[in-house]
Chain length 344, copies 2
């Protein structure tokens, strides 16, 4: 298999010889009860042995990595590089889990776009002739995120209609130069986009312009349209963010993306029944939705092409308190189903 990288546009690279061998997903109870519940590998329940939400988050991540490796029939020593991140300050979940596996580790952060940042960089490294096997991961934990970013949940603060629910979820994917069921075709590294939105209870609207920017650049670099994909999934725009992205695509590009564009955060929960308002968010959301539902669609659901463009709101509690707007970013990865050796 020839490994190759070619620059095809601003931040966009076509890659050859990179495949996703397998993915592992672990979700919490609420996520398991949503419409995608049966696509995930494991529903995780606190064992009681973890002494904190932060330790639970580590268990989620580690479990998802172990499942991905088991499905790819690989052991830890075969993993040349681990890439990924989480939402906790100083990426402590990723680092502490790195202590357990002991493999070379690259910590990455793009908020809820971290998973596609890791997938994109991992793909570029494998295609560039470096590591032959890498693991890309992202994780989030609802209660660990709540107490870091917001208020103690015991306060019972009312949530806004535009608020998203940080998912308790982890997803890990094994990228390799050896052929597998999903090929990586191209990646686009996002740039920071900020339309001036300042409301930390509405990430979807802040991130929608970044999603449109990256998807547009990615399609243009490849000379494709949205119709070339069975689906385009953004990260955590949720219901409101998707609406705004569709509006921006129509107004700024004159394109109708309604038939193709959906969002990981919008499909993880049943928005009517599960009281999550705008939908799901969190670095683990797109990682788990990709590793579970979307991978299934590519390998067994008849989809031929997927564009995954996770989105991240690059604020912190400090910048929100200082009255700053919310810079956002989206990193995109084009994926192609490989069946019966076709296109190899």
């Amino acid at each position: 298999m020839t490994r190759r990288v070619a620059a095809i546009g601003e931040g966009s690279y076509a890659v050859e010889g990179v495949y996703i061998l397998a993915s592992g997903t672990v979700v919490g109870d609420k996520e398991a009860q949503g419409p995608l519940g049966h696509y995930f590998d494991v529903t995780w329940s606190p064992s009681g042995s973890s002494r904190s939400f932060e330790r639970e988050e580590r268990e989620l991540l580690q479990r998802s990595q172990e499942i991905a490796l088991a499905k790819a029939r690989l052991d830890w020593p075969a993993v040349e590089l681990v890439l990924g991140g989480d939402l906790l300050d100083q990426l402590v979940t990723t680092s502490f889990v790195g202590r357990a596996h002991g493999r070379p580790l690259l910590g990455m952060f793009a908020a809820c776009a971290t998973f596609t940042e890791a997938l994109a960089v991992g793909s570029l490294l494998v295609a560039g002739g470096g590591p032959a096997v890498v693991l890309a991961s992202a994780v989030s934990h609802h209660y660990a995120a709540e107490r870091q970013f917001r208020y103690p949940v015991e306060l019972g603060n009312q949530r806004y209609p535009t608020s998203s629910w940080t998912a308790t979820a982890a997803g890990s994917s094994v990228l390799a130069s050896a052929p597998g069921p999903i090929a990586v075709e191209a990646v686009t590294i996002g740039r920071v986009v900020d339309y001036g939105q300042k409301d930390p209870n509405d990430y979807g609207s802040a991130m929608a312009p970044a999603a449109v920017d990256t998807i547009h650049r990615h399609l243009r670099a490849l000379g494709r349209t949205v119709e070339d994909y069975d689906a385009i999934f953004t990260g955590d725009l949720g219901e409101f963010g998707r609406r705004l992205a569709l509006k921006l695509a129509q107004e700024e590009l004159g394109e109708d993306w309604r038939a193709r564009l959906d969002d990981c955060g919008r499909v993880l929960y049943d928005l009517q029944r599960q009281d999550v308002h705008n939908g799901a968010s969190g670095a683990g959301c797109s990682a788990a939705v990709f590793g579970g539902y979307l991978s299934h669609q590519l390998t067994q659901g008849g989809w031929r092409r997927l564009l995954l463009a996770a989105t991240g709101a690059l604020l912190s509690p400090t910048t929100a308190q200082q009255g700053e707007s919310i810079p956002s970013i989206a990193h995109a990865v084009s994926l192609r189903a490989e069946r019966g050796g076709e296109a190899r």
Copy 2:
């Protein structure tokens, strides 16, 4: 110039066709008054127009990036990718500056090893045939770090003898496939090492084992010894951490590194005169010491080879409060002086 990556050991890659064209450095008053003061491009003083330490940190980073580009005679549109990070929660400095330059951005985090993580990944991407010009950056700001990680400085808490002083410093380097004065020879991605040290006032001792692990793996992968380098500089071990690293190299490897091993955090300040105890730390420390002093040694000081192995303590205030030990990591980059076209 042939661009090429070759795996040569666990997490270690030889690279060809990657050069550092120029670096930009900006430091605060205290850093400018240290023994390396005259090697830095700009001594930065608050203009008064910045309303917070966090905004000042952004100015430092942006300025260092602009200086690096000016020295390399490049404009922003020539930069295909920006890689880097900072110490603030959610990497807000890097992201907010990304809003200004608008170039494709990869947020990276390895605490005070972030600069060599960015250099290493940037080198692998350029050598792998992806982007031809990337910018690798890291920054830290003493007072922004103090109020995030420690106590309000107004409390006047006593500092420990083993405490380091977070440097106010930024460093940015332009990596490119076009020939330049410094060549990147090889990189080693670190793995998390934790010997169980729990004292958040002594990062140097926590990080020393990670530094020794990475340097040892790097040398072994290349078939070299410490004598093959004019100098090996770790990141922010400081005085105590360097002593421990020397001890570990002697006891675990039976090697005497005294004549070659020094540390960016140990040389940035005058330890006797500047009341900084163990020395400097912060993501900007190794970035600025490399871009200023160490680059000068390679381009004009007669050094032929440098091994830069910045070190990071991967804890957070939360993990420290929860009684966890301090996982650490070091990423290494081998650099070679290119003179009069030799070895091209």
